[in-house]
Amino acid sequence: MNDTSTLKPGHIQGETGIWEMVIGLEIHAQISSKSKLFSGASASFGSEANRNVSLVDAAMPGMLPVINEFCVEQAVKTGLALNAKINNVSVFDRKNYFYADLPQGYQISQFTKPIVGEGEIIVDLDDGEQTTIGIERLHLEQDAGKSLHDQHPTKSYIDLNRTGVALMEIVSKPDIRSPQEAGAYVKKIRSILRYIGACDGNMEEGSLRADCNVSVRKSGEEFGTRCEIKNLNSIRFIIQAIQSEAERQVDILEEGGTIDQETRLFDTSTGETRSMRSKEDAHDYRYFPDPDLLPLEFTESWVQDIKEKLPELPDSLKKRLVKDFGITAYDASILVEEKDYVDFYQQAANGRDGKLTANWMITELFGALKKDNLSFSESPITSENLGELISLISNGTISGKIAKEVFSEMMKSKKSPSEIVKEKGLEQVSDDSEILKLIDQVISDNQDKVNEYLSGKDKLFGFFVGQVMKLSQGKANPGIVNKLLKEKLK
């Protein structure tokens, strides 16, 4: 077999050469709206079945959809954040098909004239590189309900709570070339959505799902036939599914077969995709403009107002953190991943040593939270308290070593660092006379070593520093200890 260890991500070594993946993603993001896209019913998650259903959602005779303006605003906001063209006139279409959890017999979506057109985003890859992924379009649509097939031996149950919930479908261009890039792309979209508050990005609750279009080709060749993997709800599954699907396609092509354009499902237990329906079985959705809704129109000034209110986005924030706080681009990219991180960081680092704050947050705080299995929002340490800890280190009240002790106490007790330092008497000793007393003690206890040092064994200096620190229970200011020791042992 060939050595695959040097293959680039997204490349597959076959008998006939190296295959390249071509990937496009359709992300379905649920808009963070209290009510549904076309009805006043609640869009909240986790309610008892069929509690959040209005007459419109149940498609009772004569019921009509009315657009939820808040959702339109979120779509425009997202379009702006994706550097995309906002279409001031867009149209809602009906996508017709029969299913028990689709009460109207059609989904209201946008087909030929979406609210948002082409855009692009910059995606950060694990190796620190960046790549640009094109956005094809973003449109608004209704979610369907849920069919429950396991509640009764012969019947299916229908839950319409999700019916009509507002979704944004964000369609990428086929610019993605590896599962890792796909993962990074989803991560970036998720981060942007969370920054602007358009979607909570919660993949476990289904607020963010992706359909992945995958094909393979030899470098430089035309795109191959693609398969669509439906409804992936974690970044890990997206990466696994794309890899496995691309490998399946390569195997078929290498054996001289052809790829059937089809819709596939990812089986999380086997880690493989399987066919859901072929192109021949594809629905004819009979799209046509929904006559119950007027075209969606808004003015340029309305769009401008939204643009002005847009919060600072990750890319520009990252640059600013590097510039204002002097931290590395790498640290900055970690901090901007989540808006909560940046907000926390900026509060903690405000007026303090930015680099030191970043180190403490990324290494110590993130590490400790992971160890305790806590999410960031559950952190026992507030930004004020971390900031205070940084100040205590910077102004010499405690040493870095003591700071770690204080930090673990903060994780446990949620107390402020100064409170802990005071309670435990951990203030650093910086007073010359006090430190001199300690030095004198160490010298008199170790006269033999002093003599060795004075006769030229310079290495022993560290030993004396250590002894003084030990005697001070770590509280002596190491800088002053160094300085005074040097003078004393001249």
């Binding site: 009460p103 009979r286 006559p291």
Partner: protein
């Protein structure tokens, strides 16, 4: 009792306010009339108790001097309007036991203005038809001739028959391609289809959303003005509802038409129109000229494409609108072993032939590969038809046409769907353009059947439409009463 039935809506309203009559006696007279004319089959549901209690309520208001515009007026409601706690079937088997928990905006507006409900009126199934023969419970009989069973027209056949038979003082209808105007013409009464967007569609069973519009069927133009005053209005729940205030139509009843320009479109005088209708059309032109209007020949060149375009657009929307009747949540359901089989049986048994035909046409014209050739082309034709009217309204104020090419036909005689579709040839263009139109009776043909003439106004000019129609009404002096009407 008979004097009570002789009063039209305006007269009855006056008598009620003057306390010459009570709503209870008026309502009881109409309830009796419903039972006297029950062989016509106009009513699907009669709500006697509710009618009585609403009438009593109205009488209190009348006594207290706080009467609302339609206080105490007993009316019938086309079964396309959802009425809270009252069975609403759209004349279809698939909704045979459907009882809404909500009230349509238009009917709510009527109750808010004091009207009294008598019951629900038959119509063609899902308003698809021009003879009332597609109703699941069977056709309605036109009260006009006693010796022959004539069609009341459709789809608002029950509404038109009830008003003509005096079993409702007025009725609501819906008009998609002529469903108010054509039955009004067949039954010798007045039917008004307002501008698209004037009346809310919320709570009206949808047939073709871009065309459906509610309107009144009444004995006179003044009655229509009073009814529409109450029915119309902006509704946030209907995104296509117009946020425009309609003037009080009563103020426009006696404005006359001096100096107004009436357009006579050459495309509406083709072969196949009955001689009597041509004769009364010409008479009508003369009457309007005599009243000071200027008669101007005009052309609406794309008229001949209106009917084909309509029979693509309306079925296309219907095929989608009727997808919700799937047996899953409400309405009739045929149990089966799979979901697809349940759909097939439920819809196969629940819908009648005409509805199925239109669902199939609609599904076909929206299918991939046919969409551009049919649906998109039809929408382009619709635009051209709209432009035809826009051009003509630069030159004239109103357009006068016959309402139908023929008068009422015998029930069971017209079986060919295409011939049936031709009934709507004069009403469909205004529907496609969203314009307000009114049909009023101007005379009888040789067989003694009423002839209707249609006036079409520019968008949202219901006031002008009423003024002109009133002039025509006074000139025509149509004072006939249907043979089969309650006496």
């Amino acid at each position: 009792m008979s004097e009570l039935l002789d009063l039209n809506l305006v007269e009855a309203s006056k008598a009620l306010k003057n306390k010459e009559i009570s709503s209870l006696e008026l309502t009881k007279a109409y309830l009796k009339s419903i039972s006297d004319t029950s062989s016509l089959g106009a009513y699907l549901e009669i709500v006697e108790d509710k009618a009585i209690s609403m009438a009593k309520e109205s009488d209190k208001k009348l006594i207290d001097g706080i009467a609302r515009p339609l206080e105490g007026i007993p009316i019938g409601i086309k079964d396309m309007f959802c009425t809270k706690d009252i069975k609403t079937t759209a004349s279809s088997k698939i909704l045979e036991n459907f009882i809404p928990t909500y009230e349509s905006t238009v009917t709510q507006n009527l109750w808010n203005d004091g009207a009294v409900i008598l019951g629900k009126l038959s119509c063609d199934e899902f308003a698809m038809g021009s003879s009332n023969e597609t109703a699941a419970k069977g056709n309605v009989i036109n009260p006009w001739l006693k010796n022959k069973k004539m069609s009341p027209g459709g789809s608002s056949g029950g509404s038109a028959a009830a008003v003509a038979a005096r079993s409702a003082l007025a009725a609501t209808g819906t008009d998609t391609g002529g469903s108010i105007r054509q039955p009004a013409a067949f039954c010798g009464i007045t039917g008004l289809k307002p501008t698209y967007g004037r009346c809310s569609r919320w709570g009206i069973v949808a047939f073709s959303s871009s065309l459906d519009q509610a309107g009144p069927l009444t004995r006179t133009v003044s009655d229509a003005a009073l009814m529409l005053n109450s029915m119309a209005g902006y509704d946030q729940k209907d995104s296509t509802s117009a946020n425009l205030k309609m003037p009080d139509l009563i103020d426009y009843l006696n404005k006359g038409i001096k100096g107004k320009k009436i357009g006579i479109p050459k495309e509406y005088t083709q072969d196949g129109i009955s001689e009597d209708i041509v004769k009364f059309y010409e008479k009508s032109i003369g009457w309007l000229r005599d009243e000071g209007a200027e008669i101007i020949p005009v052309s609406l060149p794309h008229t001949k494409y209106a009917l084909p375009a309509y029979y693509i657009i309306a079925p296309a929307e219907a095929s989608s609108n009727l997808a919700r009747y799937d047996g899953v949540r409400y309405g009739a359901r045929q149990e089966a072993s799979s979901l697809d089989e349940m759909y097939e049986l439920t819809r196969g048994n629940g819908f009648g032939d005409e509805v199925k035909r239109r669902i199939m046409i609609g599904t076909y014209v929206l299918s991939s590969g046919y969409y551009d050739a049919y649906y998109l082309k039809a929408q382009k034709v619709r635009r051209l038809i709209k432009e035809d009217f826009e051009n003509v309204y630069k030159k004239v104020d109103y357009i006068l046409t016959p309402s139908t090419p023929t008068t009422s036909f015998e029930l069971g005689k017209k079986q060919d769907p295409l011939t049936m579709y031709l009934n709507d040839i004069f009403t469909v263009p205004a529907s496609l353009a969203g314009l307000p139109g009114i049909s009023l009776p101007v005379g009888l043909d040789k067989s003694g059947l009423p002839i209707g003439i249609q006036l079409i106004a520019n968008s949202f000019d219901e006031a002008g439409l009423i003024s002109t129609a009133r002039v025509l009404e006074m000139s025509a002096e149509f004072n006939f009463i249907a043979d089969g009407a309650a006496k």
